[in-house]
């Protein structure tokens, strides 16, 4: 049927096969026939074939390879659903040979523009990892990239991958921490669970213990919890809290990290989730992380779960039992919710009992005991036994009711059920041990029971009691021994041992009456079948019967046997279980499960919180502004999530609409951080996050307007400049600034390749927008597109002949310069009216601007230029130079244009379009292109206004003569291998004290030269790659750091002159 042409027949056949698989029958013989249909057009057949394939591919690896090409084709399908499912099946086939293909597919999908595909990629990561753990490093890179993803769809999946592949790499979380906290509420339920659990661990390593100052007192509390006086109740606890607060005030005041607070606040609404797992996850987070006073909120939610399925109840009760030991007050108001119904399954009953016991204190003990009384009548005998034990525990814990309990238990001794009696005896024995002298009548009563009770454990307990307290019952004890001696041979081992003990003890206290009996018992024991008993008998005989041989020991026999024995402590089996993370499998089993991550202890001192600050600002700048951070966070949290429709302009929307519209400009912003210069994201976000920053904008605008010139304020610009303002605020704190810069740069580099294809779409859109807005003529968008396409073909690793950019651009690694163009386009906008912008955007001169014409020489006209590091769209071989004119004079300047260009041979210039009018006090920007022919020769020309001509020249630093390219590590090594010998220039240098970390190095190098970072497995090396603009020769730079700031710089370049100069420049940048 599978060979048939008809889909319906194939479908029928596949259905039968799948039914076979479902029943667990082997259908592997059909493999070849099924695999043929993998390319079938009918979707249902296809799906079933996938099911089959995933099931049997592992067993038939060779044949499975036949299907791979279909999936590879599927990976390029314009439909995201097909791309996703192809990746899903491809990654589910557990065939080791295809690991490289999978790796490639995952990498590609991780930068797919559809969040759904990216989610699938995140799912695929653990699959690949389990297949080949050696890929870990590469996978971590992908995870890192996906962690930065801002869609809620991806967040859950990637954290799952993170937990499975590299849970120890907590550093990857830093910069995404706040984003995760903020997105949490919109992530799907399953993702929430994983993220919350991960964040719990994270918070344990990063924040201080909120109960730090109370911990000492808590130890004191512990004593009262379990100690003998038992007189503390709620009020007292409160008092203690007050005391704790007082001491807290005296000692170093604890201030909760705002991020810690953020986590607690954002998880709290999830207690209202319908998903029990989510509620439990939040509950454990609060239990482990929240200050003591706040933990109470979880009790209500947990009690609600008790209405759920019995399996859920089981797990929740286990956790509640652990919690009640530590924080009893929390559940006391809900005491009655733990009352037991006769219809509950036994295991639930026992757990509820445990909780009730833990909750018992002198205020509620009477109600609890009354409940217990009804439970004892239950039909469920196991439960009754557990109840008796619980009563025993209540009695030990709460002194006042000990007598009542004891009496109650003694009454149970006359119960008809033997199990109940036996259990009571055991418990009574433990209780009596505490104050034996008062209860000799009970002991007498129990002695009588020996005639009736048959349960060995109970008999043994009674015998032990009598032996231990034989002084209180001097008449009965020998009699009991007599009876026991009679039945000795028929007793269980455990009883026999106790008989021997009893005999020995009696012999020592009352040898007159019992001497013969003891001898008799010991003789019986001597010939017992059990070696333990024979052993014991021999030992005791030596000890107690005085002979010449028995040495010093027999003197101490009395001490040995009748020493005062400490009363056993009846404690909960749930004590100390809380060292396992609550809600985890390990906690439930009270044993470490495979893959369990220990919950770390609180750190002594909090690690630097700034790691989150700056980086988050990069990836989620619109949410966490450093100025007035606290306040803004409040607003953000409250407003956007699950807010009503009118307020729904927050991150919720940005995240969601991103996923909605593939080509929306949101996407561009979603990966906004990927630009190569630190300003890229700023500008992009500026345009995108309008709504969110309205409030902020307003206040900032006022300031800004004063500073800026009068030109009408466009939406996006004002946004940007408000951001700039922000930046300026920050820069006041010096350290932060340097951090932020370096971080952002590093970030950008590593991610630049991922987002190219996506930004393409948004780019074109952004361009359209700009054309409308900007006064200057802009390069048409078409050439840019064409060029990018060309570029892609060069770089792509896959055959892309059928590539259609519009519906779903294929993901291909391209150099960072696509987004660059977008950046500068946007940047152009802002520059036209803000003189400050270049400096403001890139304080460490990521874009260094040079003076072309000083305002004094230019009679009021000042001209600056900078290398915008974007491709010059009309001609790819030209370097784009952005020229900025400012008219400082009182009169307007007209007809700004250039003339009389004097160039070295081969060089070309594309002039900027004439600026007809520059009113006084205004600024204008223009872009010109210069082909420097890969040399640092200056381009000289005349700048003309309607009145005057100025001779000016532009000389490029060597670093600007190249454009970044993306290479993988392997490609980089390969290329480097080809550029050895004369093409390789190495220099040793000592790094500047401020730039000994990776970020700083990356930042400085990329500032000095327009290169892109190459991913690298080693953290001691930073690699960069680029191509010269005109000839396209490769430029590879490597900075290898060694101890104490020593480093080696290596540049490989075909053009030796460029190489030498570049080495000089980078050297300078790194040492200063």
């Amino acid at each position: 049927m599978l060979d048939s042409n008809k889909d319906s027949l194939k479908l029928e056949a596949m259905k039968r096969i799948v039914a076979m698989i479902a029943r667990g029958k082997n259908a592997s013989d059909l493999f070849p026939a099924v695999v043929k249909n993998v390319a079938c057009k009918n979707i249902e057949v296809k799906k079933l074939v996938y099911v089959y394939l995933v099931r049997y591919a592992e067993e038939q690896q060779d044949l499975a390879l036949l299907s791979i090409s279909t999936f590879q084709r599927g990976l390029k399908d314009p439909n995201q659903l097909i791309r996703a499912s192809a990746l899903r099946v491809l990654s589910s086939i557990r065939v080791t040979i295809i690991v490289p293909i999978m790796m490639l597919a995952i990498k590609e999908a991780a930068s797919d523009m559809s969040p759904y595909v990216r989610k699938t990629a995140a799912h695929a990561i653990p699959k690949l990892y389990s297949l080949d753990p050696e890929q870990k490093d590469q996978l971590i890179e992908v995870i890192e990239k996906l962690l930065a993803d801002k869609t809620t769809l991806v967040a859950g999946s990637v954290v799952m991958a993170f937990e499975e592949v590299c849970p120890e790499r907590i550093d990857l979380i830093h910069k995404n921490y706040r984003k995760l906290c903020n997105l949490l509420i919109d992530v799907e339920e399953w993702g929430q669970v994983v993220i919350i659990n991960m964040l719990t661990r994270y918070a344990r390593t990063q924040f201080l213990n909120p109960n730090m100052n109370e911990s000492l007192l808590e130890e004191g509390n512990d004593k009262t919890f379990y100690g003998s006086d038992e007189d503390e109740d709620d009020e007292e606890e409160e008092e203690k809290d007050k005391k704790a607060e007082a001491t807290m005030a005296k000692r170093k005041p604890y201030v909760m990290d705002p991020d810690h607070r953020l986590l607690l606040r954002n998880t709290k609404p999830l207690l209202q989730s319908r998903n029990a797992a989510v509620v439990m996850a939040v509950a454990q987070l609060y239990f482990h992380l929240a200050p003591k006073v706040e933990v109470g909120v979880i009790a209500k939610a947990l009690v609600r779960l008790l209405r759920s399925h019995s399996e859920v109840q089981y797990v929740v009760l286990q956790n509640v039992a652990t919690m009640t030991i530590k924080r009893r007050g929390m559940f006391e108001p809900y005491l009655k919710s733990f009352y037991i119904r006769s219809t509950d399954p036994t295991q639930i009953k026992v757990l509820k009992l445990e909780v009730l016991t833990n909750l018992a204190n002198e205020t509620n003990i009477s109600t609890i005991l009354r409940e217990f009384q009804t439970y004892i009548k239950s039909m469920d005998k196991d439960f009754v036994a557990a109840t008796i034990q619980a009563i025993g525990r209540c009695a030990t814990n709460i002194g006042e009711v000990r007598d009542t309990c004891l009496n109650g238990l003694v009454q149970l001794l006359s119960n008809r059920d033997e199990l109940v009696v036996a259990e009571s005896v055991v418990v009574i024995k433990k209780l009596l041990q505490m104050q034996p002298e008062k209860h000799s009548d009970i002991i007498k009563h129990m002695a009588k029971l020996t005639d009736n009770i048959q349960v060995p454990m109970a008999r043994a307990s009674i015998l032990w009691l009598i032996g231990e307290y034989c002084e209180h019952v001097p008449k009965i004890a020998p009699d009991v021994l007599r009876k026991m001696a009679k039945s000795f041979t028929n007793e269980e081992d455990i009883v026999k041992l106790q008989i021997i003990n009893l005999a020995a003890k009696l012999y020592l206290t009352n040898s007159k009456q019992t001497k013969l009996l003891t001898q008799y018992v010991l003789n019986l024991a001597k010939y017992d079948q059990n070696y333990d008993i024979r052993d014991r008998a021999r030992f005791i005989r030596q000890l107690i019967v005085p002979t010449e041989k028995s040495g010093a020991l027999s003197k101490y026999a009395k001490k040995l046997f009748l020493a005062l024995k400490p009363a056993p402590v009846l404690e909960s089996p749930f004590k100390d279980r809380d060292h396992f993370q609550l809600g985890s499998l390990s906690h439930l089993l009270n044993a470490k499960a495979g893959g369990y991550q220990e919950l770390p202890d609180w750190p002594e001192a909090a690690p630097d919180p700034s790691v989150r600050n700056v980086e988050v600002k990069d990836s989620v700048p619109e949410w966490t502004k450093c100025s007035s951070r606290e306040k803004r966070k409040e607003k953000k949290v409250e407003k956007p999530f699950y807010s009503d429709s009118e307020g729904e302009s927050g991150p919720t929307e940005s995240a969601d609409s991103e996923s909605d519209s593939a080509s929306g400009s949101e996407i561009g912003s979603g990966i906004g951080e990927s630009g190569s210069g630190s300003e890229s994201e700023e500008s992009e976000e500026g345009s995108e996050s309008e709504e969110e920053e309205e409030e902020e904008k307003e206040e900032k605008d006022k300031k800004k307007i004063k500073k800026e010139l009068k030109k009408p304020v466009q939406e996006s610009e004002s946004e940007q400049s408000s951001e700039e303002e922000e930046r300026k605020h920050e820069r006041k704190s010096k350290q932060r600034k340097s951090d932020s810069e370096s971080e952002s740069d590093e970030d950008d580099e590593s991610e630049s390749e991922s987002s190219q294809s996506e930004s393409e779409d948004s780019e074109s859109e952004a361009e359209v927008k700009k054309k409308k807005k900007a006064a200057e003529s802009k390069p048409p968008s078409k050439p840019v597109k064409k060029e990018t396409k060309k570029e892609k073909k060069e770089m792509s690793l896959l055959d892309l002949d059928d590539f259609e950019p519009a519906p779903s651009p294929q993901v291909t690694p391209v150099s960072a310069f696509l987004s660059n163009s977008l950046v500068t386009d946007l940047e152009g906008l802002s520059m036209s009216d803000a003189v400050l912008s270049p400096a403001a955007i890139s304080p460490s001169s990521a874009l260094k601007s040079y003076e072309l014409l000083h305002r004094i020489r230019g009679e009021g006209l000042s001209v600056e230029y900078c290398f915008s590091r974007q491709p010059f769209s009309p001609d790819a071989n030209m370097v784009a130079v952005q020229v900025q004119f400012t008219n400082n004079a009182t009169s307007e300047t007209k007809n700004l244009h250039m003339e009389d260009v004097k160039l070295q041979s081969g060089m070309r210039v594309k002039e900027f379009p004439e600026i007809e009018l520059l009113p006084a006090g205004e600024t204008a920007t223009a872009v010109m292109g210069i082909d420097f022919c890969d040399s640092t020769q200056a381009a000289n020309f005349q700048l003309c206004t309607h009145t005057r001509k100025f001779f000016v020249s532009i000389q490029p630093p060597v670093g600007e003569l190249m454009r970044p390219v993306f290479l993988t590590e392997n490609e980089f090594k390969k290329e480097q291998g080809q550029l050895m010998g004369m093409n390789e220039i190495t220099e040793k240098l000592t790094l500047d004290a401020k730039c000994r970390n990776e970020h700083a190095i990356v930042q400085r190098v990329t500032t000095a030269a327009n290169l892109s970072r190459v991913p690298c497995g080693s953290d001691r090396e930073c690699r960069f790659a680029g191509r010269t603009v005109t000839s396209g020769s490769l430029v590879l730079a490597t900075v290898a750091t060694k101890e104490e700031g020593d480093a080696q710089l290596m540049v490989n370049c075909e053009k030796m002159v460029i190489g030498t100069m570049l080495v000089k420049d980078i050297h300078l940048a790194l040492t200063q």
Binding site: I43, K47, V51, R274, R341, S378, A591
Partner: protein, 418 residues
């Protein structure tokens, strides 16, 4: 996470298995069978079992065991909740969740499981999304399919999965736009032998049935939201609005769903609608006992109590019962020892009574404990807590909608101890 899933029927046959990672032999289930053997009641099997190499997490639903195999640390509730979601989905698709139904629809079940989990990690569990990808079988469709060779699998992209409202299908259209809400309250109570209430609380749920075109944004507000002590919501409800205004604001899923669960605090006095006078006693001499139960109305808010039913788990020794009921009928199931007295409507003028003798197994000792009574009842048109829906507003769509609210009170875990 979840490695494999086995479906096991009551008698211990594995009738379906699905593996998301490499195949695990079904012999792992032996550990489970061992535990099941030991347990008296299937409910007593521990939900989490540890075996040398795996962990088995099991749920018991509709006489079926859903047994999942886990190899590494995972929150157990995560798995349990997911398994219940699977069972819910089956119920939703096939109307019930039983062995025969699953066997009949094994391919659909397999497709569903494939969509719900990827590599053991939950993928899409929203029934609206799933229904878009895999259409639930209906008789009409199966006829059409056999005629035309059509398929059950949607070939469209599950757009819901990509939107910010993953629970709602896109492009919904109805000619009649309707939204109905059922406020169902259950009384959980334990009543003492003497008739005093030991413990009582009200658990409520709002079930919604919404057939609305487009993307409506609904707001439901209550007259007396302060009654609600603790709530949990369907993911569609916006927490923020609840916090600030105590109103439910949401974009509803299409079809029926549970909007919210709530709990009315025990500080409010709970009205117990009926009282029970009972006496069950076993004689010391001779293998017999006597039973006498009368039920009367207590606080019924002026409505009639319907569907009244009493269920008694008798002690093991009770062999047979010989009773007379003044109203309704009774049955006694010997193997499970459950006596069910179905009364129906409670007539305040003539109180129903059940009286008669119980005969015990000869020679067995007199059971010392008295069985407790589980009571089931229903009161229409009233929510016993007094909760009232104030109004329902719709935003975002223009058409007029039909709306309705229904109140029902039921007995939840209502137990009378004897």
């Amino acid at each position: 996470m979840i490695h494999s899933l086995f479906l096991i029927n009551h008698s211990g046959d594995i009738f379906l298995e699905k593996h998301w990672k490499s195949v695990i032999s079904r012999s792992v289930c032996d550990y489970f069978f061992e535990a099941k053997e030991k347990a008296v009641d299937p409910e007593d099997v521990a939900p989490v079992l540890q075996t040398p190499h795996h962990y088995l997490i099991t749920i018991y639903r509709g006489k079926l065991f859903f047994l999942s195999v886990v190899q590494t640390e995972v929150p157990p509730l995560f798995v349990i909740e997911f398994l219940h979601r699977v069972a819910d989905t089956f119920q939703d698709y096939f109307g019930e969740c039983s062995e025969t139904v699953i066997k009949d629809n094994v391919v659909t079940v397999y497709e569903l499981l494939e969509e719900m989990l990827d590599n053991g990690v939950p993928l899409s569990t929203e029934s609206n999304v799933l229904k878009e990808m895999i259409r639930p079988p209906t008789t009409l469709r199966s006829v059409v399919n056999t005629l035309t060779g059509g398929s059950n699998v949607g070939n469209t992209l599950p757009t819901g999965q990509l939107s910010n409202v993953p629970w709602r299908r896109a492009g919904v259209k109805y000619t009649n736009n309707e939204a109905y809400f059922d406020v169902i309250e259950e009384i959980d109570a334990i009543v003492d032998k003497s008739g005093t209430t030991v413990f009582a609380e009200i658990q409520g749920v709002i079930e919604a049935c919404v057939w609305l075109t487009g993307m409506p944004d609904l707001t439901l507000s209550f007259m007396n939201p302060r009654l609600l002590d603790d709530v949990s919501f369907h993911p569609c409800v916006r927490f923020q609005r609840w916090d600030s205004e105590r109103a439910l604001s949401f974009i509803p899923p299409d079809g029926t769903f549970t909007l919210m669960n709530y709990h009315v605090g025990s500080q409010n006095l709970v009205a117990i609608p009926v009282y029970v006078k009972q006496s069950i006693s076993f004689f010391e001499s001779g293998p017999c006992g006597r039973l006498d139960i009368t039920i009367g109305p207590k606080q019924t808010m002026g409505k009639t109590v319907e569907a009244l039913m009493v269920k008694i788990h008798m002690p093991k020794a009770v062999l047979c019962v010989n009773l007379t009921a003044t109203q309704g009928s009774y049955t006694y199931d010997l193997p499970t020892k459950v006596l069910v007295w179905d009364i129906g409507r409670l007539n305040p003028q003539k109180l129903p009574n059940l009286k008669g003798s119980l005969s015990l197994q000869a020679g067995a000792p007199k059971p010392e404990d008295n069985p407790s009574l589980n009571i089931d009842l229903k009161i229409q048109q009233v929510a016993i807590s007094g909760l009232k829906v104030n109004r329902l507003d719709m935003f975002g769509e223009k058409y007029k909608l039909f709306k309705g609210v229904k109140y029902v009170t039921k007995a939840g875990k209502f137990q009378v101890r004897t």
